[in-house]
Amino acid sequence: MITSDWLHPSLVLIAGTLVLPLLKGRAMQAWMVLLPLAVLGTLWMAQPGEHGQMAFLGMELVTGRVDELAMVFGWVFGTVLLIGAIYALHVNDRVQHVAAFLYGASALGVVFAGDLITLYVFWELMVITSVWLIWRRKTEVSFNAGFRYLVIHAVGGVVLLAGIILFQFETGTTRFEQIDVDGPAFWLILAAFMINAAVPPLHAWLTDAYPEATVTGAVFLSALTTKTAVYTLIRGYPGTEMLVWMGAAMTLYGVTFAMLSNDIRRLLAYHIVSQVGYMVTGVGLGTALALSGSASHAFTHILYKALLFMGAGAVIHMTGRSRLSELGGLYRYMPWTFVLYLIGGVSISAFPLFSGYVSKTMIVEAAAIDQRAVIWLMLVVASAGTFLSTTLKLPYKTWLGGDSGLQPREAPWNMLLAMGIAAALCFLIGIFPGMLYALLPGAVDFNAYTMSVFLKEMQVLLFTGLAFCLLLKYVGGGPKISLDVDWLYRRGGPRLVGAVGSAIITTDRAIRRTTLEHLARLTAHVEKKHGRDGKLAKSWPIGSMALWTAIVLAMLLTVGVYRG
């Protein structure tokens, strides 16, 4: 993985992480900040091209393919690792830090993988490292949620592996370019990518697990898994018609369920689903503008979603509560968190001057250029819904609204610093979108700051706000949870298994009872003849072994002897 002009950032990160458990206190904190900086440094030095080739099972692995698309994701992953590390500086749990960095390393590995085998290895590594960020919350709920997360991703991994094997078999190569085959290989790989991209109905792992993750872990989780999936979709499935509709449906699904959420991080998690929906739509549209839109939206999304999760995490960290119905009136005590969260909120809602605006409008515009009226309308509804939940409902109920009687202190300095960096980046990208566009593959022929785009966006957002104010008393919420697809495996599956199981057990019992009765009669008969010791009964196991032997032998002999 090392050549003279290439040092794999994952390798740097993994090597650095191995040192982490040896350090303590200040040294560990310094190392945690230095590591992401080192990763950014290696990214800076990376030369375009293919590096780190290895032979494996007669296939050529390319561990480092550096092109613009990979670098976009590399840069933002590196950045969010730095932000997340600063945010987590106060945490004194090495397992979490190690897991977070290894998780980041594997996400980088996926992004730079030039072939599907390397991709698969890092893909699986991502699962087994990230799950610790959920488990280390150390509650029963988080353990169960993490376990469900693990199981679903394990299934996804098997699906991916099956797809890769078929792909290799059909095309004779494992290079990761556009997946250009028909048949099961295409669908299996797509399904695996869609599981990680949280496309409904395969999304429930995300909204089930992320709210139960640790405060600092959720920041990494929100940034990495779904976005690597978006990367693989951009690379492998551009222009797949199905994705346009699934993406648009995702956006609406996410905002609708977010409206129902009472847990602040579950609300944000549903907005990940919704926002990734935009990116998936862009991938499905497949035009140069749409793909640029997806990549840049992934970039901006990582930053503002991390900011939102950090804001919500700071509230949970300081108050120990995560339900909207139990929060309120915090602006007096956590004003900085409030303001920084709001910057994230206006970014995700695509207010002009903030980062979401310059990327989301690109995807919406691409849909318009493609003359897809229904898709366009769906996306606009979703953006109204995004503003409604993340920027109006959540902050209103958390910081304004009724006084909950809580008097927490402001979040610690490192949390605020991390949020500040993220907020500054959101603002910077919103003002100088050219910086982001320069990273994208191909020239970007798009300007978000035209009168028409601006007018439409502002009208939608402000009138959404008006509707919110007028209809405030109808806005859903309350101390409830809402069912989602995860019901299928949390309750439906067990119930089904239980029903089928008890049916099987009953039948089995019946069959066995009758068989045993007959057997008992037979043994009784034999016992009469063989006396009290009942040799047949005693040697039953060996007898059954011999019986099987005889059966197999008889089978083979019959066929063999009477065939000729």
Binding site: A162, I165, L166, M545, I551
Partner: protein
Amino acid sequence: MTITELMPFSVLVPLIASLVCALLPGRFWPWAVTLVAVIVSAVIAAFTLPAAAQVTLSYAFGNWPPPIGIEYRVDAANAFVALLVAGMAAVALPWAKKSVDKEVPERQGAFYALFLLALSGLLGITLSGDAFNIFVFLEISSLATYGLIAHGSDRRALLASFRYLIMGTVGATFLLIGIGFLYIMTGTLNLADLAERLPEVRDTSTVRAALAFIIVGMGLKLAMLPLHLWLPNAYTYAPSFVTVFLAGTATKVALYVMLRFVFTVFAPDWSFVVLPLSTVLMILGVAGMFAGSWVAMFQPNIKRMLAYSSVAQVGYMVLGVSLVSVIGLSAAFLHLFNHALMKTALFMAVGTVIYQVGSARLKDVRGLGRTMPWTLTAFALAGLSIIGVPLTAGFVSKWYLIQAALDQGQWFLVVLILVTSLMAVIYIWRVIEAAWFQERSIKQPDVGEAPLALLIPTWILVALNFYFGIDTRLTVGGATAAAEALLGGGMTP
């Protein structure tokens, strides 16, 4: 001395050393003599493989030329298996010292003598080119194995050994009957000679019956699905070291004998036509994969769980054989080798737990992840290999198996292989969950990490699992050469 002349000594050295061992008192010397003998044997086997891959080696005992005299005839296939057997013994022995001291405190001379006999028996089976000689060595190794299993500290070990004795004897007798039939028809016992003379007489029911008897006989020793019933108890109640050794070698050698007869002696274009072998083996293999994994998922005893997992892994190998192609056979040989690596590592880890805790039940492993991190991490990593995670040896053999299935357009097999891999995830996970996610109950004694003498060999094997998952030149090369030797009629001069 050339390698051809040295080759028989990989069998003879353990054989002679076993005699010495039987007389040695105490605890150190029997082990030391065994170690030396095993290492010598393994080194010879290691040098034999490259030579045998080039040209078939032949060694006539007493200089009586075959087919009259007894001959050792070694091509890539048996050299590969012999290296596996001797190598596994050499890796397992350093681990054995502590574990055997604890589990078999008395009469260790006899114990190690039996072990050496079993080893030389297994090696003799592999190297011999004479059908009757194969039977003799099979009995030597089997009898020694019964004795070894009976050394288990649990009283049930005696019963397990007795049951294995009966079934093993049935198996060996079936082999003998098969060989007898062949001798009646051809008048020779030399394998290469048999292969030459059989075509004249092979359209008789006697020869067909011989094939059936040999397959069932070896199926028994191999623990192929409906004939596997002896294995779980034998593996569970044997001393840990015996399980470690047997899991890696005994069933593999039986598979080799079956392959040798089916492919070289009878020739696949006949044996797979006369009996519906391909179908039968495929069904039994798949059934073994499922039944083994299924039962393993519910076992409360880890050793027993791994034993059932072995039944499943044998299923993979049989499945590879049933595809009757070079790549399928290569997959079988690869899995034969890789399974030895991972099962030995797993049983070593479990044996280490038994050494410390005195039990391998799941509930006794609770919370051990924190107090014995090295042991259980080794278990988890070797478990990855049995699941078939990329970069482990287990992945390589499953990859080839899947390729072989795809090569014949058998899509459903791929699905079945993946499903059973998921079942492996479940049973390995149960151990991990118990070790790391459950609390140790107050009644259970606190234990610390195991001694290095046990940990180092375990970790060497774990490392080998990963090494052979990445550098596949030796395993894939050896397995392919072995498969080609069997399919290409490597025994005919």
